[in-house]
């Protein structure tokens, strides 16, 4: 193995393992606090903004879940923004709202499609609440979503609260793998990042913000395709905290095909790179504490170096395959009877140990994540195997996203 490959592997291994060790240490330190919630008897007025674009198949359950929220009906309002849908979304919203008597709905019906961030801002402008929640129209909130989040704003420095994102009814293997990914990435990791003041996203399915802060930072950025990530950067810059709670959550749909997952991830990852390029001053920014000094540099360095390592490994694999084809040609495709090679433990290299170390890291992180959300790893063995191998498609998603960013290709929401 050449020295560059060895050093690259060691660096990526070190950075990713460091992150896992950090997460596990925080899990250990906060093991009693992990699922505790700070209930409050106070019921401040809350507005929930839900933009919708061509969601005829999923908006009804979303609206119903908003009506089922366990919170005084006169203390929250739902602002639905139809973003120029050209399917039956508009009719469904209209019928549903007209049949509702208890929950307060505000309906903004726009003919022109202007995008999610624009719709959110329009809804926020119309909102009356002390806090404003944003919700995707293909998601469903748990009834206790407000009771378990508004209390967290008792600390005046908390600008946003995020919740656990559940995958709604995962059926096929891909959905089950993504479900596991959400448990690790959007549940435990977010909870830990919240403890470290390093939350880098306020997930679109449901997040809730302090209205004064929202006005102060000027709402969502309409140019960014991952507005939920971009706003998190500005929340940090405005010196507010983003906290997470696992005690409540939101159910959301995830892509059921690889093609749909590719589109979603390309948007996420391209948006993530765009956001960093939009806010380069966050990197190594002492004012932003661990978020600027630790999380962002390590996160983006691991992603970039991991991608270089992935490409390097792929090139090596490809050259080995080509070499073997060449060998077969040289031996006239004569295959000799197969003999089992001698098992020699001494042929194990540093790379084998690093690989075993990485697999143990992923398994430990997954186990800790499943425990944090009180689920059992044994029931998801197949998805777990797929999750461990998921680093390959991730590399493809990231490669494609880097390509789009550097060539200036626009990535659309849909």
């Amino acid at each position: 193995m050449d020295i560059v490959y060895t050093l690259l592997t060691l660096t990526v291994w070190f950075l990713s393992t460091y992150f896992v060790v950090l997460v596990l240490l925080v899990v250990f330190e906060k093991r009693k606090d992990m699922r505790q919630n700070r209930n409050t008897s106070k019921t401040p007025f809350v507005s929930i903004v839900m933009p919708a674009y061509n969601e005829e198949s999923s908006i009804l359950p979303a609206l119903k879940s908003l009506c089922d929220i366990d919170y005084p009906k006169d203390k929250y309002e739902v602002i639905v923004v139809n973003d120029g849908s050209n399917d039956r979304t508009c009719d469904i919203i209209g019928h549903f709202i007209s049949s509702q008597k208890t929950t307060t709905f505000v309906y903004i019906n726009r003919k022109e499609n202007k995008g999610k961030a624009h719709s959110l801002n329009e809804g926020i402008d119309a909102a009356q609440g002390e806090f404003v929640g944003t919700m995707d129209s293909d998601s469903q909130v748990k009834p206790d979503i407000l009771r378990k989040t508004v209390g967290l704003f008792a600390d005046s420095k908390v600008g946003a609260v995020t919740v656990r994102v559940h995958v709604q009814d995962p059926k096929n293997l891909l959905e089950r793998i993504v479900d596991l990914e959400y448990v690790v990435g959007l549940s435990l990791s977010n909870r830990i990042l919240s403890y470290l003041d390093c939350m880098h996203v306020t997930p679109g399915p449901f997040s809730i913000y302090r209205m004064t802060m929202m006005k102060e930072i000027g709402g969502f950025d309409v140019r960014n395709i991952t507005e939920d990530m971009e706003i998190a950067f500005r929340i940090h810059k405005a010196r507010y905290r983003i906290v997470n709670t696992l005690s409540t959550g939101v159910y959301t749909k995830v892509p059921s095909t690889f093609g749909a997952l590719y589109k979603q991830r390309k948007r996420w990852y391209t948006g993530s790179l765009d956001t960093l390029m939009q806010h380069p001053d966050v990197l190594f920014n002492r004012r932003l504490g661990a978020f600027g000094l630790f999380f962002l540099p390590i996160n983006y360095a691991t992603i970039t170096l991991g991608l270089v390592l992935g490409l390097y490994s792929f090139w090596m694999l490809l050259s080995t395959v080509l070499k073997n084809i060449q060998y077969l040609i040289l031996t006239n495709f004569e295959i000799l009877p197969f003999t089992f090679p001698d098992i020699d433990i001494l042929k194990l290299s540093l790379f084998h140990f690093l690989m075993v170390g990485s697999i143990i890291s992923v398994l430990s992180l997954t186990k800790a994540s499943m425990s944090a959300v009180q689920r059992r790893l044994r029931e998801n063995v197949l998805a777990l195997a797929g999750f461990v191998l998921f680093f390959i498609p991730y590399q493809i998603f990231w490669l494609s996203s880097f390509y789009s960013v550097f060539t200036g290709k626009k990535v659309k929401w849909r």
Binding site: V26, L336, S349
Partner: protein
């Protein structure tokens, strides 16, 4: 922040410790690899010394008394040499760049010297004991200098596996600059790499498996693979 700032330092120290553990296991295995190579080398040297002694006895008591033993020792030595060569090469690849590579280079020099000795013994035994074994000498250099050497090595490994005891392949690394190997390269007029010497005749350049078999059958038609050929 809701956790102690020291958690970052703690995680750093633990990760360094994990890396050190992995590195230590690798260092430990490397020492075991060196022990394994040295043990195999000692075994091959012992067999070689035994064969040298038997060759001396052949001069004293004649072929009838020693040929059977020599042939069986030859088979043992062939297997030992093959195993040793493979071990040195594969272990060296694992240790290269970040471990004690000079050790493997030293072993390779020793191995090449043993091969020269083995070759001279085989030449003597082959004549006197009527041994139907073909001899291929293979001269190669570092893969960065000799771009086709890896391919030629693969072809010869294939031939060796296919013909087993009927062919003896001796590989010589010209980069080691051993006086004994240099004598062979000048004697067989080796000017380019890869090059092969099959039954005393030099064949420069890359040769594929069918061509090597054709040359072998031309030179030593008694080989079993030649019987099936028209």
């Amino acid at each position: 922040m809701e956790v102690s700032r020291w958690v970052f330092a703690k995680a750093f120290v633990i990760t360094i410790l994990l890396l050190l553990i992995i590195y230590s296991v690798n260092v430990f295995l490397n020492s075991k690899r060196e022990i394994a190579v040295s043990a195999d080398m000692d075994e091959a040297v012992e067999t070689m010394e035994e064969m040298q002694a038997l060759t001396q006895l052949m001069n004293m008591f004649g072929e009838n008394a020693t040929c059977m033993t020599l042939k069986s020792q030859l088979r043992v030595l062939d297997k030992q040499t093959w195993k040793l060569g493979d071990k040195i090469e594969s272990y060296r690849q694992l240790s290269q760049e970040y471990m004690s590579d000079p050790y493997y280079l030293q072993q390779k020099r020793k191995f090449n010297r043993q091969e020269v000795l083995y070759l001279s013994l085989l030449e003597q035994i082959r004549d006197k004991c009527d041994l139907n074994q073909s001899i291929i000498l293979y001269f190669y250099r570092n893969g960065r200098i000799c771009t086709q050497c890896d391919q030629q090595s693969f072809v010869l490994t294939h031939i060796n596996q296919k013909m087993d005891e009927e062919v003896a392949v001796f590989s010589f690394d010209s980069d080691l600059d051993l006086p004994s190997v240099n004598v062979l390269t000048s004697n067989y007029n080796i000017t380019e790499y890869p090059s092969m010497v099959i039954e005393g005749e030099t064949y420069p350049g890359l040769r594929d498996s069918p061509e090597v078999e054709r040359i072998l059958c031309e030179k030593t038609p008694y080989l079993s693979i030649c019987k099936s050929k028209p």
